[in-house]
C-alpha cells in the first residue's frame, strides 16, 4: 500500500514542570518586564475568580465558571491579540477577554444576569462577540468574522476563538475547522484542554490521542502546547496570529492544562474527580510555574512579585466595587426587554412593552 498522506502533531513547551527552560526561550520571554506583566495578568484573573466565587456564595452573583488553573491559556493567547483583531470568546474565556480589553466588571455584569455586560465599551472591543454559552456555536461565528475580513481583503487582522476540549465533540466545531481550512481564513482556534467537560474526562470524550489532531480533518496546521506554560501559549498564539494576519491561514492550538476549580459554582467536582490527580495538577499550575522561573532566573525578586499581587488585588477590588454598585443601583427598565429585539419595535411587541412598563411601575 502506498502512503497518500502523513502528519505529525508537535508539542511546544518552554518551561517544563519544574519551571526549567526546556527550549530556547522566544524573544519576548527574554524580557522580564513582559514576563512580569503576564504574571500579573494571571494573578489578576485568579484573584478576580476567587472574589467572584465568594460573591456567588453570598448571593451577589449567579452561576460563574472560574478559570482556576487555566490562567495561562487565556492570558497567553489573549495577550497576543493586537488592535484590529477580533475575539470570539467562550464562557470560560475570562482571562482572554480581559487581555483583549473587555472590562472585568462587564464580564461580572454578564454573569450577574445583566445583558449590558455584553455591550463592551472599550473601543477595541466593539466588534468582539459576547460569550457563547451554546457550546461550539462561537467557532462558526469566528469563521464568519474571518470570512468578512478575508472577503474585504483587510490586511493585518485576525480572529481568535476558544473552546473547551469537550466542545470539540460538537459538530459545529468541525464545520468551522473545515471551512477555515478550505477558505484559508485568518483564524486561530484555541482548544482549552482542561481535562474535564463538567464531569466527563477526556477518555470518555474522544479516542483521539490529541485534541490538536482534530485539525488534520480540515487539513489545517495544528499543534499542542503546554497550557500551564504561559510562554508556550503566548509564543504559539503569537505565531499563529501573525500567520493569520499575513495570509497564512488558520491554526488549531490545543493547550493542555487542568481545571483546578469546580466546573462552575453550580458544580461539585468532588463527586467525580480523583483527589490524587487533582493534587498532582496543582504542582503544574501556571502561576507558580512562571513565578518559579522568574525567581530562579533572576527576572524578578520575590518582593516584586508580592507587590504585583497586591496591585492586582487592588485592581480586582475596584472592578468588584464597580460591579456591586451597578447591581445595587443600576437596573434596566422593563422596556429594555423589548427595545433591542429589533431595530424597530413591531406593533405586537409595543403593546406588550406598554404592559410590562405598567406592571413594572406598580
Amino acid at each position: 500500500m502506498r502512503t497518500s498522506a502523513s502528519f505529525e502533531i508537535k508539542y511546544l513547551q518552554y518551561l517544563d514542570e519544574k519551571a526549567k527552560p526546556a527550549n530556547d526561550l522566544p524573544d519576548f520571554a527574554k524580557d522580564p518586564k513582559i514576563l512580569i506583566q503576564l504574571y500579573k495578568d494571571m494573578q489578576f484573573v485568579r484573584i478576580l475568580d476567587k472574589r467572584t466565587v465568594a460573591l456567588q456564595r453570598i448571593g451577589k452573583m449567579h452561576t460563574y465558571p472560574a478559570s482556576l488553573g487555566q490562567e495561562a491559556v487565556g492570558v497567553g493567547s489573549g495577550s497576543s491579540l493586537q488592535e484590529g483583531d477580533v475575539l470570539i470568546p467562550y464562557y470560560r474565556g475570562t482571562a482572554t477577554m480581559i487581555a483583549k480589553g473587555i472590562k472585568p466588571h462587564e464580564i461580572l455584569q454578564y454573569w450577574g444576569g445583566d445583558e449590558r455586560g455584553s455591550d463592551y465599551k472599550d473601543k477595541n472591543c466593539k466588534e468582539d462577540f459576547p460569550i457563547a454559552v451554546p457550546i461550539a456555536t462561537q467557532m462558526l461565528h469566528a469563521a464568519g468574522v474571518a470570512t468578512a475580513i478575508k472577503l474585504r481583503k483587510q490586511k493585518g487582522r485576525a480572529v481568535l476563538t476558544e473552546i473547551g476540549e469537550g466542545g470539540t465533540s460538537e459538530g459545529e466545531f468541525y464545520e468551522a475547522l473545515n471551512v477555515a481550512g478550505v477558505w484559508d481564513l485568518p483564524l486561530v482556534f484555541i482548544i482549552n484542554n482542561n481535562q474535564w467537560a463538567i464531569s466527563v474526562p477526556t477518555e470518555l470524550q474522544t479516542r483521539a490521542e490529541t485534541f490538536a489532531q482534530k485539525g488534520i480533518a480540515a487539513g489545517i496546521e495544528c499543534l499542542q502546547v503546554d497550557g500551564n506554560d504561559v510562554i508556550a501559549v503566548k509564543d504559539a498564539t503569537t505565531r499563529a496570529l501573525d500567520k493569520a494576519r499575513t495570509g497564512g491561514g488558520p491554526t488549531v492550538i490545543e493547550a493542555i492544562c487542568y481545571r483546578l476549580s469546580d466546573h462552575t459554582t453550580a458544580d461539585d467536582a468532588s463527586r467525580y474527580n480523583d483527589p490524587k490527580v487533582h493534587e498532582d495538577a496543582w504542582k503544574k499550575e501556571p502561576i507558580k510555574r512562571l513565578q518559579d522561573y522568574l525567581l530562579a532566573s533572576g527576572g524578578a525578586l520575590a518582593e516584586e512579585l508580592e507587590s504585583a499581587e497586591e496591585e492586582c488585588k487592588a485592581l480586582v477590588e475596584k472592578e468588584i466595587q464597580i460591579y456591586l454598585k451597578f447591581m445595587e443601583e443600576d437596573h434596566q427598565p422593563p422596556e429594555a426587554m423589548f427595545d433591542y429585539l429589533f431595530a424597530e419595535l413591531p406593533e405586537r411587541t409595543r403593546v406588550q412593552r406598554d404592559e410590562a412598563i405598567r406592571r413594572g411601575s406598580k
Partner: protein, 326 residues
C-alpha cells in the same frame, strides 16, 4: 411509599424502568457518576452499571442520533438533554429521524425513545438556560410532548413515556423540581398520555396551563375564589397530541377560558388551545379566550426574568377582565 420531589420522582421512574426492562438505557452528558447536573440520574449508574447509564461525549445531535439507532434495534433509550436551550443541535435528528421512522418504514422500525430535558425560567440560571420552546416540538407530527406539573405526574407520566412505543419529548419544569413533595408509591402505575388532568372543578371560568405555570395558575384560582370566582383548572400535561375534548367540555360548562403559558405568546400552545375553542367551542363562549403568556421577546437574563414570566397577578387581572367582559 416515599415522599418525593418532582425530580426525585423522575429518578424513581427511571430506576423502575431500568430494573423492569433490560432494553431501557439512559444516556446523556454527565448522567453517569455525576448523576446529571440536576441529579436526575443520581445513583443510577452505580446501581445499573456503565452499560445502562451512559456518559456520552458532548454533542446533542449525537445523543439524539444514537438514540434513533439504538431504538432501531429495539432498545429504549431515555436520553437527557442537559437543558432545553441546548436541544437545538439535536433538532434535525428529532424532526427528520425520530419523529418519522415508524411512518417512513410503514411500521417496520419504531422509535421507543424518550428525550428528557429540564426547561423553563425562574431559577436565575445563565443565558439560554431558561427558555420554554415546547411549541416547537408540538408542531412536529410523530412526537408526543409531555410535561409533568407535580411529583406524582412526573412519576406516572415518565413511566408512560418510557413504555410508549413512540418518541416522547419529556419536558421537566426545573423551577418546580424541588418546590413540593408528594407521597409516591413505586407501583409502576403509568398515567395516560392522552388526557388532560382536571385539577380543580369550577363553574365560572376554565384556566388551562401545564408545567411550572400550573403553580401560578392554582394560586390564582385560590385568589379568585376569595373573590367569589370559581375557576376550573386543567393541567394539559400532554401538550401534543392535544386532548382538546376535556378543555372544550370544561369551556362548555364555564363559558370562559384563560390559557396560561410561560413561553412567548405568538405561536405557543396557548394559541393552539384558543384556536381549538374558537373553532369548536364558540357557542359556549361568554367572553374572549385570553392568553397570559411570556412576552414575544428573548427571555431576559436572571436580573429581569421575574418581569418576563407570567405572575399570579397577571393571571388574576386577566381573569377579572374576562369575568367583567360584556
Amino acid at each position: 411509599m416515599a415522599t418525593l420531589t418532582l425530580i426525585e420522582a423522575v429518578t424513581l421512574a427511571m430506576e423502575h424502568e431500568l430494573a423492569r426492562d433490560k432494553d431501557v438505557v439512559l444516556l446523556g452528558e454527565d448522567v453517569g457518576l455525576n448523576g446529571g447536573v440536576f441529579r436526575a440520574t443520581d445513583g443510577l449508574q452505580e446501581k445499573f452499571g456503565v452499560d445502562r447509564v451512559i456518559d456520552t461525549p458532548l454533542a446533542e445531535a449525537m445523543i439524539a442520533g444514537l438514540s434513533v439507532g439504538m431504538a432501531g434495534q429495539g432498545m429504549k433509550p431515555v436520553a437527557e438533554m442537559q437543558f432545553m436551550g441546548f436541544v437545538f443541535p439535536a433538532f434535525n435528528q428529532i424532526a427528520t429521524a425520530a419523529a418519522r421512522m415508524r411512518n417512513r418504514t410503514r411500521g417496520r422500525l419504531s422509535m421507543p425513545l424518550v428525550f428528557r430535558m429540564p426547561y423553563g425560567g425562574g431559577i436565575h440560571a445563565p443565558e439560554h438556560h431558561s427558555e420554554s420552546t415546547e411549541a416547537l416540538f408540538a408542531h412536529l407530527p410523530g412526537l408526543r410532548v409531555v410535561i409533568p406539573s407535580n411529583p406524582s405526574r412526573a412519576y406516572g407520566l415518565l413511566l408512560a413515556a418510557i413504555r410508549d412505543p413512540d418518541p416522547v419529548i419529556f419536558l421537566e419544569p426545573k423551577r418546580i423540581y424541588r418546590i413540593e413533595k408528594h407521597e409516591i408509591e413505586d407501583d409502576g402505575e403509568a398515567y395516560p398520555l392522552d388526557t388532560c388532568f382536571i385539577d380543580r372543578e369550577g363553574d365560572d371560568i376554565t384556566l388551562v396551563s401545564w408545567g411550572a405555570m400550573m403553580h401560578e395558575t392554582l394560586k390564582a384560582a385560590d385568589k379568585l375564589s376569595e373573590d367569589g370566582i370559581s375557576a376550573e383548572v386543567i393541567d394539559v400535561a400532554t401538550i401534543s397530541p392535544l386532548d382538546s375534548a376535556t378543555i372544550l367540555d370544561s369551556v362548555e360548562k364555564t363559558g370562559r377560558c384563560v390559557v396560561i403559558q410561560e413561553a412567548p405568546r405568538a405561536g405557543g400552545i396557548a394559541s393552539e388551545i384558543a384556536a381549538e375553542i374558537a373553532e369548536k367551542g364558540l357557542l359556549s363562549l361568554l367572553a374572549p379566550v385570553c392568553r397570559v403568556a411570556g412576552y414575544d421577546t428573548i427571555m431576559p437574563y436572571a436580573r429581569m426574568e421575574g418581569q418576563y414570566m407570567p405572575s399570579v397577578e397577571r393571571i388574576t387581572d386577566e381573569v377579572q377582565k374576562v369575568m367583567q367582559f360584556k
